[in-house]
């Protein structure tokens, strides 16, 4: 409950800040959308940084480091330090100067004039809004997960289905509403102020979290030494032979369990006698809550108690891993055994995990502060549903295979940060700058700020792979990556500190959501309503009202999506960024290539979004986190395809008029 109160106070503070900044609102649409070009270097740095660092940076980076190891930093953070500043330097300043000179508020206004095409907005508007929505989704989804994890057991009787904590749908809803209120009233000025406040909060609390967690793990050295001993592959990008051996052993044992369960439960050709079971348990050293299954499987295998055909073994593996058994069953698996890699190609059955976990552990589930056995407190506390699911996954599903990071994937990740060049919300932030000189601080400090936030998160995620609590592993196998940071904060800190640290995580999430909300409201009014309805048709007051209404609509749509099946935050983020990166060649060419034509830009946009849609579908809509195309990150193909289409079509079509070229390239 303490955590919940602290989070509540923090959210109230934000609302107050938003309402206070609205008192400075001049009432014009320009002030609402661009803060009247009044933002100085410090506010610009904090608002740009706060906007680019979202749930992806805190929740996503720690979760991804937990899954993939320290290589995650080089893959995205250090490259972002180079590329983001490059985009601010090469694109931001130039677009700011044109925006200041010609009065642009949105990207589409710039493209319309630069490309001499009114209709470019018709295809760009849905694409940009469509790509911002998954970005928003990352924040909305993560905020619900974080609040839910941190408030487990906060209520005595309510929300039993959510472990007596705030349900994710409610957490996401509250966060969406808070951000909505301060964007609604504060506009760009409120957003810039709130971003600055929240960026300071999450940076300070992030560093505090890092040191508290490391101290609980026995210090920096002990935390890293544990990883070196138990999961050395997480400290590099190749696979350590020790990890490979451990995995081989675990997979072998898991195979035996799969075969035993299939023989006893599906085929019913085997049943151990009570004496045999007693013998099996006698030889086994319990480690997991439902260790009996493993003991029986090992005993049966050791004594050759069952014989299965290759087809039956393959079906046993699919069944044990809760995967769909193909019908008809592939001929190649009727005689030969499938590898773990081949096994993973079959999707997991929906809800199988939850149904089985409730069936097996239903009796143990309850309020996490209540004793499992009121007469014997030494038996521990009741289980949360999350714990039951975790134990089920850890004891039933195949162990994760260690895998190296591909050098080609690492190289082509470099395309992902190019997305910053096309983020519509960042374009709008650039335009708020008071002068070109305002950009100097953000350009220099951005890579350092990324380092301050990402290095601790990545280390915490890696430490989580080997952390122990009271002698037992803190995280069982298959623990959901999105929940790693929140779970560590909850398990390793006091309720007061956990409340503050959660506020820090939420700060990072909300500081991105607000800019995104505002930018889509701005695009709707400027690029659609005012552009097509006519500038003189609406008063400034009506324009602001329409922006606010559209923001509410988009928040409602995003919130609706967040209630659907969750994806890994990092994977969803990379897909969203990849879409924006695929449009990077168009913005870069618009700024630096005089020969770019209207049709060239259309070709680039259509190829970009076409290739994105195709590859996104191929990756099972982000459900396959390790999807690559030609061994590379899909973004590389999208960027090259879009650039090629844009260049070729531009070269064979009529160049822009002299007036347009003089307008945008007067120095030449």
């Amino acid at each position: 409950m303490t955590q919940l109160v602290i989070i509540g106070i923090y959210l109230s503070l934000l609302l107050f800040l938003g309402l206070f900044s609205s008192r400075l609102f001049k009432g014009t649409s320009k002030d609402y959308m661009l803060a009247s070009h009044s933002i100085g270097p410090f506010l610009l740095l904090m608002s740009i940084f706060g906007t680019t660092m979202t749930a992806f940076a805190l929740v996503g980076s720690s979760g991804e480091a937990y899954k993939e190891g320290v290589g995650v930093y080089g893959m995205l953070a250090s490259s972002s330090g180079i590329i983001h500043s490059l985009c601010f330097f090469l694109l931001g300043i130039k677009l700011w100067s044109w925006g200041h000179k010609y009065g642009y508020t949105t990207q589409i206004q710039f493209f319309r004039e630069r490309l001499e095409s009114d209709r470019i907005g018709i295809i760009l508007f849905p694409i940009l809004v469509g790509l911002v929505i998954p970005y928003l989704l990352i924040g909305v989804m993560s905020s619900g997960v974080v609040i839910s994890s941190i408030t487990e057991g906060a209520f005595e009787n309510a929300f039993a289905a959510y472990d007596y904590g705030v349900p994710p749908w409610l957490g996401s809803l509250v966060i969406s509403l808070v951000v909505l209120v301060y964007v609604f009233f504060g506009g760009m000025r409120g957003t810039a102020w709130a971003n600055t406040f929240q960026t300071i909060v999450f940076m300070i609390l992030g560093v505090v979290t890092f040191f508290v967690i490391s101290s609980k793990l026995g210090g920096l050295q002990a935390a890293s030494d544990a990883v070196l001993e138990k999961n050395p592959s997480k400290l590099m990008r190749a696979v350590d032979p020790k990890d490979r051996e451990r995995y081989a052993q675990k997979y072998k044992t898991w195979t035996l369990i799969a075969k035993y369960n299939y023989a006893t439960r599906i085929l019913k050709t085997l049943e151990l006698t009570p004496e045999q079971k007693a013998e099996a348990y006698k030889e086994f050293k319990p480690r997991m809550p439902n260790w009996q299954m493993t003991a029986e499987a090992l005993y049966a295998a050791k004594n050759n108690l069952y014989e299965l055909s290759a087809e039956e073994v393959n079906k046993a593996l699919l069944t044990q891993d809760d995967r769909v058994i193909p019908d008809p069953f592939p001929e190649k698996y009727q005689n030969g055994l499938m590898s773990h890699h081949e096994l993973k190609e079959y999707p997991r059955k929906a809800n199988a995990e939850k149904e089985k976990a409730m069936l097996i552990f239903g009796g143990k589930i309850g309020h996490p502060t209540h004793d499992l056995d009121p007469d014997d407190p030494s038996k521990g506390k009741k289980w949360t549903i999350k714990k039951a699911l975790g134990v089920y996954r850890a004891s039933n599903w195949a162990p994760d295979a260690p895998h190296p990071m591909s050098k080609l994937v690492f190289l082509t990740y470099f395309f992902v940060p190019l997305s910053v060049g096309m983020f519509p919300h960042l374009f709008q932030h650039w335009l708020t700058a008071r002068s070109a000189g305002t950009f100097k601080l953000p350009v220099v400090a951005h890579p350092l700020f990324i380092m301050i936030v990402w290095v601790p998160c990545v280390l915490v995620g890696v430490w989580a792979t080997s952390a122990t609590l009271n002698g037992a592993p803190m995280f069982p196998p298959h623990f959901p990556a999105n929940a790693v940071l929140a779970a560590m904060v909850k398990k390793m800190t006091s309720p007061v500190l956990a409340g503050f640290l959660t506020a820090g995580i939420l700060a990072a999430i909300m500081s991105s959501l607000d800019s995104q909300f505002l930018c889509i409201g701005t695009m709707f009014t400027e690029d659609i309503v005012v552009h097509y309805g006519g500038k003189d048709r609406f008063t400034d007051k009506q324009v602001v009202l329409m922006a606010r209404m559209f923001i509410i609509l988009v928040v409602a749509i995003t919130y609706g999506f967040s209630l659907l099946e969750p994806r890994r935050v990092f994977t969803l983020g990379v897909w969203c960024f990849s879409g924006f990166s695929s449009l990077f060649p168009i913005i870069f060419a618009a700024v630096y290539w005089k020969r770019l034509t209207k049709l060239g830009a259309y070709a680039g946009v259509l190829v970009a979004i076409g290739s994105w849609l195709y590859l996104f579908k191929e990756a099972k809509y982000a459900l396959n986190p390790s999807y690559t195309f030609l061994g590379m990150m899909p973004v590389a193909t999208m960027v090259v395809a879009s650039a090629t289409a844009m260049i070729l079509v531009s070269l064979i079509t009529r160049p822009p008029s002299k007036e347009t070229l003089v307008r945008f390239f007067p120095e030449d």
């Binding site: 014009t28 320009k30 070009h37 320290v70 290589g71 930093y73 080089g74 953070a77 250090s78 490259s79 330090g81 180079i82 490059l86 330097f89 300043i93 130039k94 700011w96 100067s97 925006g99 200041h100 000179k101 010609y102 009065g103 642009y104 206004q109 319309r112 004039e113 001499e116 009114d118 920096l220 050295q221 935390a223 890293s224 030494d225 070196l228 592959s233 400290l235 590099m236 990008r237 190749a238 350590d240 190296p404 990071m405 050098k407 470099f414 002068s435 070109a436 000189g437 350009v443 400090a445 951005h446 890579p447 350092l448 990324i450 380092m451 290095v455 280390l459 400027e526 500038k535 120095e667």
Partner: protein, 83 residues
């Protein structure tokens, strides 16, 4: 000097691909994985290179261009006419 700064950006991009540390799990200072430390160094190097960019490659002329014609309180001319 401007080209030297751009050259340094290219160098950063190249050395970012640290293939030589791919299978190195050493801990520096007892806790810091060497590959993470190296990449954090890239971030610091980037900040330094961008600092040089603000000193030696800053587009001062853009400031003047923008100041010649400060922002209007209204959006750009109706671009619908350009189609």
């Amino acid at each position: 000097m401007r080209y030297a700064v751009y050259g340094l950006v290219v160098v950063l991009i190249i050395i970012h691909q640290d293939n030589w540390l791919w299978d190195d799990k050493r801990l520096i200072f007892g806790f810091m994985p060497i590959t993470l430390l190296y990449q954090a160094g890239i971030s610091m190097g980037a900040a330094f290179v961008w600092f040089l960019a603000t000193k030696f490659a800053w587009p001062h002329h853009l400031e003047e261009i923008a100041q010649e014609s400060p922002a209007q309180e209204s959006p750009a001319p109706e671009s619908g006419e350009t189609e």
